[in-house]
């Protein structure tokens, strides 16, 4: 809306509160990553921008109704679901998606009653991405590091946790890990913990990475160093006195979660030992026939997020989990656009998704300029949506309503020595703003 002096942008969000993954996905001990909220807030304060929370598109108002009300509709609703393992036992009571676990400690309303079982010593995380590291770090961090905007309930549960050891298990090898170097470095340096890296996994790897791109090279070098080199004095002392540990297991593909005697909880996981075919990012894990079991009760599946179709009228590719599009223009639906994870799939860091959003905005602006969007029809915008919502008994939450909720969370946090105490019940949020 900064490019087109007259454009107005209205933002619709399912939850009462804005910011999505910045509030609900970014780990509580990564507050700097949340600084982008300031940029978002500045945008929301523009008099050509409005925010409407507590509105579920596809239920409270349909996309076709939005298209009647607006010249352009951009879908950027992300990936609210997770990939499933597709193995027996994955629905046992002590197996959780990392997505739900992250939602739990970050105060996402739908995960507030997760009550994860933290009563055994060993936890297994399936996956080797940044979310897997986040989950391991939150399970093992000293409490004073965690004491930020993590929810009170989850902090209390973690304080009583018996978890001492977390394995991050990947189907492929060290050269295919999906986490990034900043997060790995943080894990290696996590106070009170020691890394368990099998030297056999890393021997000889130094030669293989000589010519790979810099990010993969530096990341692998850090793993090699931690696995093969003698630690410095300070590090050695920390590792010697560590009470908790974490490690990476490679070339293990989950086959079955094994039930405990009660038939409800997990007691372990059976995995296929794999070998790699091909190399680099496109290497494939192929079972060797060998099988291994790992004893554990808590299993967190961190194998990726997944988008869902919003509304039956929108094209959706269930295989790729994205809305079919060309440069952000939804195929076969003029005036409809998409951006972010629902456009390209659920991977990437801040800059990837930011650049992608700029790209979609580019397409919208081009279409405005080229007359592809028919501006001669004036559209009512929120005016018509408001009456639709009213007729359905839905009360949108404005940005200044959010600011009241924000102020309440910050005030409650102050009492507890935290930057905020998140409100996890949407009803409580709505009551606070007298809806």
């Amino acid at each position: 809306s900064a490019h087109h002096r007259l454009a107005r942008v209205d933002i619709y969000e399912k939850l009462p509160v804005p910011f999505g993954l910045v509030r609900f996905g970014v780990a509580p001990d990564h507050p700097e990553v949340k600084n982008v909220i300031n940029t978002f807030t500045q945008t929301a304060h523009s008099d050509r921008c409005a925010y409407y929370g507590n509105v579920t598109i596809g239920k409270d108002v349909m996309v076709k109704e939005l298209q009647r009300a607006y010249h352009a509709v951009v879908l950027s609703y992300g990936a609210e679901d997770n990939q499933i393992l597709g193995i027996p036992g994955e629905n046992l009571s002590t197996v959780y998606s990392a997505r739900a676990f992250v939602g739990w400690y970050n105060g996402l309303p739908e995960n507030r009653d997760l009550k994860p079982d933290l009563s055994s010593e060993t936890a297994v995380v399936l996956g080797q991405g940044n979310v897997a590291l986040d989950v391991a770090r939150v399970l093992l961090s000293p409490l004073d590091i965690l004491r930020t905007d993590i929810t009170e309930g989850s902090l209390a549960a973690i304080a009583c946790s018996k978890v001492k050891r977390v394995w991050l298990v990947g189907r492929r090898g060290p050269l295919q890990v999906a986490f990034t170097i900043k997060e790995l470095r943080e894990m290696i340096n996590l106070p009170g913990t020691r890394p368990l890296l099998d030297p056999a996994d890393f021997t000889g790897l130094g030669d293989v990475i000589k010519d790979v791109p810099r990010p993969r090279k530096r990341l692998t070098e850090l793993m090699i160093k931690s696995a093969l080199e003698k630690p410095g004095e300070k590090e050695a002392a920390r590792w010697a006195s560590a009470t908790k540990e974490w490690g990476l297991k490679f070339q293990r593909s989950p086959l079955e979660v094994l039930p405990a005697a009660d038939g409800k909880q997990a007691r372990g996981i059976r995995m296929a030992v794999t070998r790699l075919e091909g190399s680099g990012e496109s290497a494939r894990a192929v079972p060797t026939g060998e099988v291994e079991e790992l004893e554990c009760r808590l299993i967190l599946s961190s194998i990726g997020y997944r988008s869902l179709p919003l509304d039956s009228s929108i094209p959706f590719d269930p295989k790729l989990g994205i809305i079919p599009n060309s440069l952000g223009r939804v195929q076969g639906a003029p005036g409809l656009y998409c951006s972010g994870w629902v456009k390209r799939g659920p991977t990437g860091v801040i800059i990837t998704t930011m650049n992608d959003s700029f790209d979609t905005a580019q397409s919208v602006l081009e279409d405005l300029q080229m007359g592809v969007l028919n501006l001669s029809n004036s559209k009512e915008g929120f005016k018509s949506v408001r009456s639709i919502l009213h007729s359905r008994g839905v009360h949108p939450v404005t940005f200044s309503d959010w600011e009241k909720i924000d102020a309440a969370e910050v005030a409650r946090g102050k009492l507890a020595g935290k930057p905020r105490e998140k409100i996890v019940d949407p009803q409580e949020m709505l009551q606070l703003i007298s809806h």
Partner: protein
């Protein structure tokens, strides 16, 4: 800005145990001084430190004369004073640089010694984002610098390198704008913004700083 500066170990250190400096209350870094274009002393000292000057002094110790500490020699030259706490403001220390925006337009701007390149860009409406607000948690302020300039800048912190690893179109001459601190030595430097979308903005938008 004028909080206690931390001592910096450089190759220039020859003597003494570093003591942090407290900038005193008569520091010229008042709002009035800044609005007249005068530079913050703290920023100057920070910039000189970034350029490899060792700073050390005990303000109360020897009246500000810290022997051979280069920064105070500079101070004495510029102000004609031995005092660590000058009462007259310094003239502004300007640095002229050029941004090359994502459409290839050359935009000359004037920065201040001690200012970082992200802040400079945003202050002049150049389209450089700083999502994490200079806390080394993103790579949105990614810029390219000339090889010549690369050689003049201090080696990037490991944490900057970690974030650069994630920048699209990473090149040998990539840096994060928020980590480049202007010094007089950077006079004439050029900062090129990577082309991050198909053809960035239709009419040359600029994100506003906050």
């Amino acid at each position: 800005m004028h909080n206690r500066l931390e001592p910096v170990q450089t190759a220039a250190v020859k003597q003494g145990v570093p003591e942090p400096i407290s900038l005193p209350s008569c520091c010229p870094c008042s709002a009035a001084a800044l609005s007249k274009g005068e530079v913050c002393v703290g920023a100057e000292l920070k910039a000189l430190s970034a350029a490899g000057w060792y700073r050390s002094a005990s303000a109360s110790g020897n009246g500000g004369r810290a022997g051979t500490a280069p920064v105070f020699q500079w101070w004495q030259e510029v102000t004609g004073s031995d005092c660590v706490s000058p009462t007259t403001p310094l003239p502004a220390s300007r640095v002229n640089v050029v941004f090359i925006d994502r459409s290839g337009h050359r935009i000359p701007v004037q920065g201040r010694v001690g200012e970082d390149v992200l802040h400079l860009a945003q202050r002049h409406d150049i389209e450089l984002e700083g999502a994490c607000e200079a806390s080394l948690a993103c790579s949105t302020c990614h810029v390219y610098v000339s090889q010549e300039l690369l050689d003049k800048l201090p080696v990037p912190d490991e944490r900057e390198e970690d974030m650069l690893d994630l920048a699209p179109q990473l090149q040998e001459n990539s840096r994060l704008g928020c980590q480049i601190i202007l010094t007089k030595e950077l006079e004439g430097a050029e900062f090129t913004l990577p082309k991050i979308t198909r053809n960035f903005y239709v009419d040359g938008h600029v994100p506003k700083p906050h």
